[in-house]
């Protein structure tokens, strides 16, 4: 890999007060890749994604996007670089309509793209089109997750971060979410960093993966290597793979 990675973490630390949540993380994502980050609850996966946006800001180390240091860039200037996050817990705007939520995602996009981009989201998630004038807070969990993904896509990101998109979803929705992740990557060439509890699915869809433990990367490899790795099998796959079908 001689090209500049799309995203590169070098020795990144992050704190919440006295809690040391990231302890020198090195990670990179190349253009066109799906990279997954797996790890137990509280390992620091969400923190790693949020630190890209400065929430919390890295207390040491460097985060670069397409070769530019963005470690100290203000939160609101990150997405405009072409990065979008589907955060943990979806965080849709409950008292806005579905359509308004999508409009929020395209606040800084070219208005000329708006119709085509909503069309694309509605084709991907037809239920959102039927519900477009409904308050987002009244949607089911799965529908809210689709809306959060749709909102992120409205800004035409080059890099899409997904934090546990399958959490709490029915198996049917989980299948759909993973199908869409693959489609976005293969058809649209979108680069994706995926955090998942569902390690089996994630490692199947990803080109490469990292295992995070107590704020440190302890293992990395291709999706297949990690799937075959005894440590990963023991810690993250036993029992869970079958349960999630």
């Amino acid at each position: 890999m001689t090209t500049t990675p799309m995203l590169q973490y070098s020795g990144v630390h992050a704190h919440y007060g006295a809690i040391h949540a990231l302890r020198g993380v090195d990670l990179n994502v190349q253009k066109g890749e799906i990279v997954t980050l797996i790890g137990a609850n509280g390992a620091g996966k969400s923190t790693l994604m949020m630190s890209l946006f400065g929430k919390p800001a890295a207390s040491a180390g460097k985060i670069a996007f397409q070769g530019n240091d963005i470690t100290r860039v203000p939160t609101h200037d990150i997405s405009r670089q072409g990065i979008a996050l589907v955060p943990e817990g979806r965080r849709i705007f409950p008292r806005m309509t579905v359509l308004e939520n999508l409009q929020m995602g395209s606040t800084f996009a070219d208005p000329a793209h708006f119709d085509a981009d909503t069309r694309r989201v509605f084709d991907m998630f037809p239920i959102l089109e039927q519900r477009q004038l409904q308050r987002a807070g009244t949607l089911s969990g799965g529908e809210q997750q689709m809306l959060a993904i749709g909102r992120a896509l409205m800004g035409r990101p080059q890099l899409l971060l997904l934090d546990e998109p399958s959490l709490g979803l029915a198996p049917l929705y989980i299948k759909q979410v993973f199908r869409i992740i693959r489609e976005l990557n293969e058809r649209d060439g979108m680069t994706i960093l995926l955090v998942e509890q569902n390690a089996h699915h994630a490692l199947n869809v990803a080109h490469r993966g990292y295992v995070l433990q107590h704020g440190e990367i302890v293992l990395t490899g291709t999706g297949k290597e990690l799937l075959a790795s005894p440590e990963v099998r023991a810690a993250y796959l036993e029992g869970s793979a079958q349960a999630h079908g």
Binding site: H76, L85, F93, M96, F108
Partner: protein, 304 residues
């Protein structure tokens, strides 16, 4: 009957003014979860600036009343919005992460500062202007009571309606309005989507101040006298209106304003004018005790 209609007209006029001020309280609360106790004084500053501008325009010989009022509105909105912006910058932003008591105290400090500043620079005496829009229509006479609709009342009610139409378009239909509402619901997520939350909060203070500015100009023209202390009582009444309507709810603020205006007007006419302010405070206490979420407020408390 005549008396009743007359109080309805007076109450509507007062209610329009309280409603416009109440919008500022409710918007600021909606976005940062704080009561801006300096907001009533922002309204007072607007009224004082209005007197100055109107006097100046009179001296310059600009006597066409609609033109003078339009110029005054523009100038007063501009300067009052700057005051609103400054209050946020000086009294709130530095304390964004402090305990909830700190910004409350600094807002009260800001309120005292504004009153003293005006008192020192403008004097403590009431500032009168000559009647700009005297007269009105005599609608009808019933049982020897004639019902009047003053030109100033027509102005206040129609300006308020136009302003509300523009304002609700801004909030519900424009990108700025969506960003403003998004900040109310989830500031972190709004920032993740590329929106500058600090700037949106500043604009919210400015917008609230601008609405109070319009109220200040209209009251100046309506009553013809203002002084440094009018912000306190008007502020508490508008605050009561915002709480009654449901703090955080924009239609609620307007509805609350109308109800408070009506109560004040009918109370003065039928019970006792001396105790009309007591009526308002009584309502505030009752609402806080029995229905703290107000008439149109969301029952669940999201920010504690």
């Amino acid at each position: 009957m005549g008396q009743f209609i007359q109080q309805l007209i007076n109450g509507l006029t007062l209610g329009a003014v309280y409603g416009l001020i109440a919008l500022g309280y409710t918007m600021v609360y909606g976005i940062i979860g704080m009561i801006n106790f300096a907001h009533g004084d922002i309204y007072m500053v607007a009224a004082i600036i209005a007197v100055t501008v109107l006097t100046l325009l009179g001296a310059l010989g600009i006597s066409a009343v609609p033109l003078a009022i339009l110029i005054t509105l523009a100038v007063v909105i501009f300067f009052t919005a700057i005051y609103g912006w400054s209050v946020e910058r000086v009294a709130y932003r530095p304390l964004r992460k402090a305990s909830r008591l700190a910004p409350l105290i600094s807002a009260i400090g800001m309120s005292i500062f504004l009153q003293n500043m005006v008192q020192l620079t403008q004097g403590a005496r009431v500032k009168p202007i000559h009647a700009m829009m005297p007269g009105g229509f005599e609608l009808f006479t019933h049982d020897g009571f004639s019902v009047h609709l003053a030109y100033t009342q027509i102005m206040i009610i129609s300006v308020t309606i136009i302003l509300l139409a523009v304002f609700s378009y801004l909030i519900t239909r424009t990108s700025f309005g969506r960003q403003q509402r998004a900040c109310e619901q989830d500031q972190t997520m709004t920032a993740l989507l590329g929106i500058n939350v600090d700037r949106t909060i500043s604009y919210t203070f400015m917008l609230g101040a601008a609405l109070a500015a319009v109220a200040g100009v209209m009251v100046t023209v309506y009553y013809g006298v203002v002084d440094f202390s009018i912000g306190f009582v008007a502020g508490i009444k508008a605050f009561t209106a915002a709480v009654l309507g449901g703090i955080g709810s924009l239609p609620g603020a307007m509805l609350g304003g109308l109800i408070i205006g009506m109560i004040e007007s009918f109370w003065s006419a039928y019970l006792s004018p001396e105790y009309k302010d007591v009526a308002t405070f009584g309502i505030l206490i009752l609402v806080l005790m029995f229905r703290p979420s107000g008439l149109l407020g969301r029952p669940e408390v999201e920010k504690v």
